[in-house]
Symmetry: C2
């Protein structure tokens, strides 16, 4: 069978397989990034005009583009509605950006760790990944300058706010410094912000793209973490040099994003109901995060180290005694617990053993301790077997 | 700006530009393939479970996959639900198939003419297009055998039922012969059937894929022509050797198709309401086709030749005095009439001048004569100018 060359780079998706296994109701899943079911807002459909059933524009619904541009400007992102493209979830931004920039061998600059599905999308198109270690304040600036001096990445893909998987939020100073370096070297920025609104303190740093003076950029977000992921509605905002290409690539990919989801999203953007929903969501997740922190201290205090995330959906644990956490997956699932091994979040998984990503939004509180107790036992058993 | 090589192959989309121009309410548009607004069915949302707001499976909703497999089996397509992938409109099938098969320089076999957006998608990925002329009964078999002897296409992309743009429906004999040739040369088939249900006579030829004995295949369809295009719900059915790759490519493209649209589609599949809606749709479009035929005879009888389509949404006119119909677009739009030039439906547009694709489903009957009268005048003026 003559498949394309890229199929040889198409990896078995760990996420999909773990999520599939985690669908069994008896499984306590710390694996996905799923919103908590009780926090999915009740939505109304009665007022939707029949015209939403017809074909729409590849750009997206004009009113939704206006609403998103207004919200972005309020965040400090300089943009017009004409720069907004509605996409079928922000995963599609990664596909469109890959098509726009990546030939086999094209260098791209990524955080280490970075979002697994982005890494896979870029690698599918043949990207060579150049990585910068991520610390508690953001990327290592010495390493970043060194990479930019030695490489010519087509873009830098960064998740500065409650990074997936690490939970890191870049500091104000680091944001300025990273933006200045990208400007200095003329590197395009793709800034991915699905978690910005899931914030548990008062911190409100403006996006990196708002700090750029020269570089081109794509800023992408979604309603999946704050409203309903099942709608598959996300957006990207791009500088005018990139937008027309992204628009044509969008049309070629799926003509346009579904209009019923776009209409529903529009009902929420900028509304008082949305502000209230977000406030409730933050409080709900903050309580779950605190419960997770407490349970982690009890079950993983001796096994791992971690920072408390100030937003987002994940704890990122580093085992004190590293081992390949992918080997823990089978015994964990056998014990009805799912988690995300850390290795696939790195372009060089073999050099980065011993992290676990644990979601705190999805498991019900009454099963939290039992789930973590079982997972800790799986870790201990594996470490004991390795020591033996 | 270091774009990927494929961006040099990204054509300005004529469809999108014409459709954008055709959005002006005063424009009489024969350009798109839009369902008639009055025939968009009224849909209900009250019963949709809240769980449709959550993330779903990349494969699609299990019940919808079952329903589509059952319909396909009733058509003669041998398949199980495990072979069904729900996609974000059947345009996405073209994107996924391109990713699966096409490297720069990969040969693909197409009808001449073929669906413009498929041609563009394949060319974006770098396909070399090998084409077979399409006659009233289907592809020229001598040409097809000759192409298969001289080339090694990764797949054949065919639209055997009410082809877009030509309206051709392959005869029974031609279906058998084409399938036998694909089997003989071991060529994978992508069969695109958006128009199968829009049939105006009793003809019911089974799909090509049901006639294959050895070749791999992808069969793709959509609810866009029979239900609501705004839902962006289509499907593909693939042989088991192809399915796992397509599934991973789908996940990488947009995780999964929106679930609200999938749920809505599921309410219709196999229902009595759907059967009745399809019957009404066929009658409605048959009347519009007949009105179009009558009006065409009046205004284009001296200018062009055409066959009466037995299904689908288009008339395909061949001018008796050929000219590049792309040059007619500006004067037509200036006269508030939109149509699709025929040249972009060919891999070699310059060698195929003088066709027009005219949609008959969208223009209201009371504007039909005026629209065609103006369009005929644009053609006559251009021919007179060329002769002068």
């Amino acid at each position: 069978m003559p498949f394309s060359e890229r199929i040889s780079r198409l990896k078995s998706s760990l996420i999909r397989e773990i999520l599939a296994a985690a669908q069994r109701p008896e499984v306590m899943s710390f694996a996905g990034g799923l919103p908590a079911e009780p926090m999915l807002p009740k939505v109304q459909w009665e007022q939707m005009p029949a015209s939403m059933g017809q074909y729409g524009m590849s750009e997206g619904e004009p009113a939704l583009r206006e609403a998103i541009a207004a919200e972005a400007r309020a965040l400090g992102v300089p943009c017009e509605a004409s720069q907004v493209l509605i996409v079928s979830g922000s995963q599609q931004t990664l596909d469109l950006a890959s098509k726009l920039f990546i030939d086999p061998g094209t260098e791209v600059l990524l955080e280490a760790p970075t979002y697994l599905a982005a890494l896979q999308a870029f690698q599918l198109f043949g990207a060579d990944c150049v990585t910068v270690p991520l610390g508690a304040e953001g990327p290592d600036l010495v390493a970043l300058r060194q990479r930019l001096e030695r490489h010519k990445p087509a873009f830098a893909y960064l998740i500065p706010t409650f990074q997936n998987p690490s939970g890191v939020r870049y500091s104000e100073e680091r944001r300025d410094a990273v933006a200045a370096l990208l400007d200095e070297f003329g590197v395009t920025l793709i800034e991915d912000e699905p978690y910005r609104e899931l914030v548990f303190d008062e911190g409100r740093a403006t996006p990196l793209v708002s700090r750029l003076r020269k570089s081109s950029w794509i800023y992408t977000g979604t309603v999946s973490k704050t409203l309903l992921p099942g709608l598959r509605v996300g957006f990207l905002i791009a500088t005018p040099d990139l937008f027309p290409h992204l628009l044509r690539l969008k049309q070629s990919a799926d003509l346009h994003t579904n209009r019923v989801g776009q209409w529903q999203a529009l009902q929420w953007f900028g509304s008082e109901a949305y502000r209230q929903h977000l406030a409730e969501l933050r409080e709900f997740y903050r309580v779950r995060r605190d419960a997770m922190q407490e349970a982690l201290l009890e079950h993983f205090g001796e096994l791992a180290e971690w920072n408390i995330p100030e937003g987002g959906l994940f704890f990122w644990l580093t085992l004190r005694q590293p081992l390949d956490t992918r080997t823990l997956l089978q015994p964990a699932l056998a014990a009805d617990v799912a988690f995300m091994p850390g290795e696939p979040f790195f372009a060089e998984p073999e050099q980065n053993l011993g992290r676990l990503r644990l979601n705190f939004s999805h498991v019900a509180p009454e099963r939290l301790h039992e789930g973590l107790r079982r997972l800790a036992k799986v870790v201990r058993d594996a470490q004991a077997a390795e020591a033996a």
